[in-house]
């Protein structure tokens, strides 16, 4: 197991090194092969691990070496392999591989050197993500956490010649850093209270922590999760992150990295279950984000922006699940969401590819007949995300909603409203893009074509997974067995669930499905004939401009900070600190010039100096050094 895990983690790193170091020597073929092979091997190894665990191999912690070893703190570099991390391994390497494959065709337009750079980053990302989920303590998780943040930054700014993209990259990085601060503080707090940050020790010692400690730690961890998983108020980076190549959006900003926050909280479920207040906060933030970003998504016209806001909204659902204690449900939704959102993004990528990097859906339409495979798979993805049975999204979303209902019917109501909006904007997107007639230029229409096999195969695989992926978690009431729940039961304390009467549950499902269906039908009928082309007005305009949140942040946070920075730079530093520092320099120089004169070159003077010094020492030595003691202790 020890070697196997090392292989899983190190192979992508190897790919990163080779592609990164020899990026000027590789061809398209060699680079893509290397990158895909390493991830595929990693995936196979992960599948073996997953299989071993489901065959009854017990979870274990394997230690490689001491990462930090001091008297008071010992942080081992160790991996923890259990059912939760095994599942994430599969998702990361599996979807990672599909997206590598897809990218090998999608990124062909780049120069070979940048092509290799792209894959090096992508491999590094997989490596960091694996570290994140495999780490056996919060420190290792944090290393991976920062690693994925770095890769996200590098990949968003992949086309670094465009300033806007660089700004987007910086924005993502800085917002993440704000969250990371919370995460770091939480780690420090844990270490201060418990002496280390190993999961096993932390979870075993939860009862030793005071309620205040637990609440503070979980809240701080949640701040970290907010940054990484794009929750209010730290969500604005994610839509901007769409500046990166589309496969990157699919992998990092939809399927894997943004779910790191979910993973972290699911991993810490023992802590969160003990912190009721934090759970309330998580629910509120999750729900608000889910609804808020859904409203924005309704009025977006950039195909990737719609998907981005949809991602934010779905992440909100997952946090809702975490907040109400449905950890399994949240992880389940991570999985299904990874399938269909990756599918949707890749489908969008295929569309963008066909449209020659046109992303505005108002200039599309009627693509159904030009891109048949993309169309079908995209449609399946839309149905899945809308929560129509028996597609995967239905099961996972239903599980979260049912748990929410149990906690508080209001949560459920809001959740269903969000689900309706999801269905609505997804099918608005679908209808505007694929139905109706083509609205682009002649030139674009002429070039429309279906994408190559390397791109369509991942689409098909993901579409299949989106359709059937839900069957691993069929709720009891529908006569199924919750395989996923059983699988994860060793890691996540099974919630006392399904106290709901079967009738109630049927009713809940019925309502949510019905609402979603109505929304779909409305959207399709409305937008396939008469897509909205002109700029929105009134509330629509507010939504189109994302509730002016960016502007709000700029006015109240960024600009005042900039002004403060300007003040410090121009006033405090220039005249204050610089003056002070240079003043010290001048003073030292002056002293040096003056004191040099003691060295007269006269040996008699030197001897006199010695004699005088001895006398002075003797003089202040009287009373057994009391004067020295006074000088040393009082004067300084």
């Amino acid at each position: 197991m020890k070697t196997l895990l090392a292989i899983i983690v190190l192979l992508p790193f190897l790919g990163f090194l080779l592609n990164g170091l020899f990026r000027k020597h590789g061809t398209y073929k060699s680079v893509a092969r290397l990158a895909c092979t390493t991830i595929l091997s990693s995936f196979i190894a992960s599948a073996i691990v997953f299989g071993m665990l489901s065959q009854g191999t017990t979870a274990e912690t394997v230690k490689y070496f001491d990462f930090i070893n001091t008297d008071s703190i010992k942080i081992p570099f160790a991996f923890q392999i259990d059912h939760l991390s095994a599942m994430f391994l599969l998702i990361i390497t599996g979807i990672g591989f599909l997206i590598h494959l897809y990218s090998s065709a999608y990124m062909k337009d780049e120069e070979p050197q940048h092509y290799a750079r792209y894959f090096a980053y992508l491999n590094l990302f997989i490596f960091s993500m694996l570290l994140l989920v495999l780490g056996a303590n919060y420190i290792i998780m944090f290393i991976g956490w920062e690693g994925v943040g770095l890769c996200s930054y590098l990949l968003i700014g992949f086309w670094f010649k465009n300033d806007n993209f660089n700004y987007a990259a910086k924005k993502a990085f800085i917002m993440n850093r704000i969250g990371d601060l919370g995460f770091l503080l939480a780690i420090f707090w844990l270490i201060a209270r418990l002496g280390n940050a190993n999961y096993a020790d932390v979870f075993a010692n939860v009862h030793n922590l005071s309620q205040t400690d637990i609440t503070a730690i979980t809240l701080l961890l949640f701040v970290g999760a907010m940054g990484k998983s794009a929750q209010i108020p730290l969500y604005t980076w994610l839509p901007d992150a769409m500046a990166g190549p589309t496969p990157v959006s699919a992998l990092i900003h939809a399927a894997t990295m943004v779910t790191a926050g979910i993973y972290m909280i699911a991993r810490s479920n023992v802590l969160y279950s003990a912190a009721e207040f934090t759970q309330h906060i998580v629910v509120i933030v999750g729900l608000t984000t889910a609804l808020f970003s859904a409203t924005i998504a309704i009025k977006q016209n950039d195909i990737k922006k719609v998907l981005a806001y949809s991602t934010v909204s779905q992440l909100g659902y997952m946090f809702l699940g975490l907040g109400v204690g449905a950890y399994t449900g949240a992880v389940f939704h991570v999985m299904t969401h990874a399938f269909f959102k990756a599918l949707l993004f890749l489908g969008a990528g295929s569309v963008i590819h066909a449209m020659h990097h046109e992303q505005d859906i108002r200039k599309m339409g009627g693509l159904k007949k030009y891109l048949p495979i993309t169309h079908i798979t995209f449609l399946l993805g839309c149905i899945a995300i809308s929560g129509i049975p028996p597609f995967s999204g239905f099961f996972s979303k239903d599980e979260i909603l049912a748990a929410a209902y149990e906690k508080n019917p209001v949560y459920w109501g809001l959740g269903v409203a969000g689900a309706a909006m999801t269905a609505f904007y997804m099918f608005r997107l679908y209808a505007t893009t694929f139905l109706g007639k083509f609205r682009g230029t002649q030139d674009q229409e002429h070039h429309l074509h279906e994408s190559p096999a390397a791109m369509t195969i991942p689409l098909i695989v993901l579409a299949v997974l989106s359709v059937i992926g839900g069957f691993v978690g069929v709720p009891e009431v529908l006569g199924g067995k919750h395989l996923l729940g059983e699988y994860l039961s060793t890691v996540i304390i099974p919630e006392p669930h399904h106290a709901l009467a079967h009738n109630t549950e049927y009713m809940l499902m019925g309502i949510s499905v019905a609402v979603a269906t109505i929304a779909i039908l409305f959207a399709v009928s409305h937008y396939s004939k008469k897509p909205q082309l002109e700029d929105a007005t009134g509330l629509g305009k507010v939504l189109e401009n994302k509730w002016y949140v960016d502007e709000l942040y700029n006015t109240f946070i960024v600009n005042p900070l900039n002004a403060l920075g300007g003040f410090f730079k121009n006033i405090v530093e220039k005249s204050g600190i610089d003056g002070f520092v240079n003043g010290i320099g001048r003073f030292v120089n002056y002293l040096s010039r003056q004191i040099r004169l003691v060295q007269s070159g006269q040996v008699g003077g030197y001897i006199l100096m010695m004699v005088v010094s001895v006398v002075i020492i003797l003089f202040i030595w009287i009373h057994d050094g009391e004067i020295y003691k006074f000088l040393v202790t009082k004067l300084f």
Partner: protein, 469 residues
């Protein structure tokens, strides 16, 4: 028992034999090749060094006046190794020098004195060996016979050192008067608190030591002598002789005056403070590179005194470790300077402008050495200073550490100023490519390995620490 003498004193014996041999050679033949003399000496020094690591006896001789153990042997090995490096570096200068044999005789005499000094456990022994290690040095300082400043340096050295040993002797005589004994161990047990005469004695002995290690305010001779002497002698003065006296200082402070520990702590703290600050202030505006290194070595002594102030095993180990590092770094710097001075006669900092253009290897050597002296990680100087400050902080004088840190910053300025001269500045009259003979090359390699290795090899400090215990 007879063989015991030979084994216990093997360092001293080999050095004494070498001196005798050189005397015989010198007397026996007028025309002897400098190379031969140098090679014989280097070979015997190397033999002594190797033997010093292999044979590690422990015991007392001469009625307990002479004591040796692993720690003392380590110190002697350090000194012998340093002398060997200096001897290798000096070969450029000595090649055509008429008094090579005398140079070595005097050099080895001082080394012999230092070895005895480290092992001495009696004030008589200590005084004799101290003088043995000082008087020939004054003669050595005069070895640039035709240079005015060389004889001036020698004069200043001999007068001030004679006076300082006078002070120290006075202190020793008072110690004898009050305790009736001169053996370190017996003095330590006979010493009493609050005896004015003993206090006086302590201050006088402290002044003597302060002079030898050039601690402020007893440092004034240092720069003049360093500047005037031949480079080889300067490096010997600044490294070996200072190191030897510091080793003995550890013994005297920690053993003989252990009873006064609580009060000499404050004295040392204040002296170290002045030494750091004043050494730095002087160094800032120097233009002669030897003089500059003299002042920088004064401020290094200030750091050493901080480590010493801890008064524990840790501080003894940290001081010895720092001296090892300091020997390598300082000799690395002096090696380059000796080469440049020997071949071109230039010794101003400005002469080093554009040095990197023609002398890549020498520039790197000097750069690394200066970085180590400045205490920049990952070279050894950083760890040396780190351990010193760590042991100094044991008594809780954090403000002292803060001042030391500020001083490190100041020292960074002038060290990097030299580095800037070498690597960045351009000059029309930059030094030509210098040929490096085999001996200085070996010395240089040893220094580089030492500077980098003793920093990276974490076991070294532990090794020293175990020996101290």
């Amino acid at each position: 028992m007879q063989t015991n003498y030979f084994i216990l004193m093997h360092h001293e014996l080999i050095i004494a034999i070498t001196i005798m041999l050189l005397l015989v050679i010198k007397v026996g033949s007028d025309k002897l090749s400098n190379q031969l003399v140098a090679n014989v000496t280097n070979g015997l020094l190397l033999a002594s060094l190797v033997l010093g690591f292999i044979v590690q006896p422990e015991g007392n001789v001469f009625g307990d006046m002479f004591h040796t153990d692993g720690f003392a042997l380590l110190q002697k090995n350090i000194l012998v190794a340093g002398t060997l490096i200096i001897s290798l570096q000096a070969s450029t200068w000595l090649k055509d020098y008429e008094h090579t044999a005398e140079f070595y005789i005097l050099l080895l005499s001082t080394l012999l004195g230092m070895c005895f000094m480290i092992s001495s456990r009696h004030f008589l022994m200590f005084y004799l060996s101290l003088e043995l290690s000082t008087i020939p040095l004054a003669a050595l300082a005069n070895f640039d016979l035709h240079l005015k400043r060389s004889s001036e340096a020698a004069l200043k050295l001999i007068i001030s050192s004679a006076f300082s040993s006078g002070l120290m002797l006075l202190g020793i005589s008072f110690l004898y008067g009050t305790t009736g004994t001169l053996s370190f161990g017996e003095v330590a047990s006979a010493i009493q608190l609050n005896t004015p005469l003993q206090l006086f004695a302590f201050v006088l002995i402290f002044a003597g030591f302060g002079f030898k290690i050039s601690a402020v305010p007893f440092h004034l001779w240092t720069a003049d002598v360093y500047e005037g002497s031949p480079v080889a002698v300067t490096s010997y003065l600044s490294v070996i002789s200072k190191g030897a006296v510091l080793f003995v200082f550890i013994t005297v402070l920690f053993n003989v005056f252990a009873l006064y520990a609580h009060s000499w702590y404050y004295l040392i703290v204040i002296v170290s403070l002045f030494t750091m600050v004043i050494g730095n202030l002087f160094a800032l505006r120097q233009t002669n590179i030897k003089r500059f290194l003299a002042f920088s070595s004064i401020s290094q002594v200030g750091f050493i005194l901080i480590g010493l102030s801890g008064g524990t095993h840790t501080s003894a180990a940290s001081v010895v470790y720092f001296i090892v590092v300091y020997i390598f770094s300082n000799l690395g710097a002096f090696g380059v300077i000796a080469l440049v001075q020997g071949l071109t006669g230039k010794e101003n900092i400005n002469d080093y402008k554009g040095f990197y253009l023609n002398n890549k290897m020498l520039s790197w050597m000097l750069g690394i050495a200066l970085f180590s002296l400045a205490g920049i990680p990952p070279v050894a100087g950083f760890f040396g200073k780190f351990f010193l400050l760590l042991s100094g902080a044991e008594k809780g004088a954090y403000w002292l550490i803060a001042i030391a840190a500020i001083n490190m910053v100041i020292s960074l300025y002038y060290y990097l100023n030299v580095v800037k001269n070498i690597f960045i500045d351009k000059s029309d009259t930059s030094i030509e490519k210098l040929p490096i003979a085999i001996q200085p090359r070996i010395a240089m390699i040893i220094c580089v390995i030492g500077v980098v290795g003793s920093g990276l090899c974490g076991g070294l400090y532990q090794y020293i620490f175990d020996l101290v215990k």
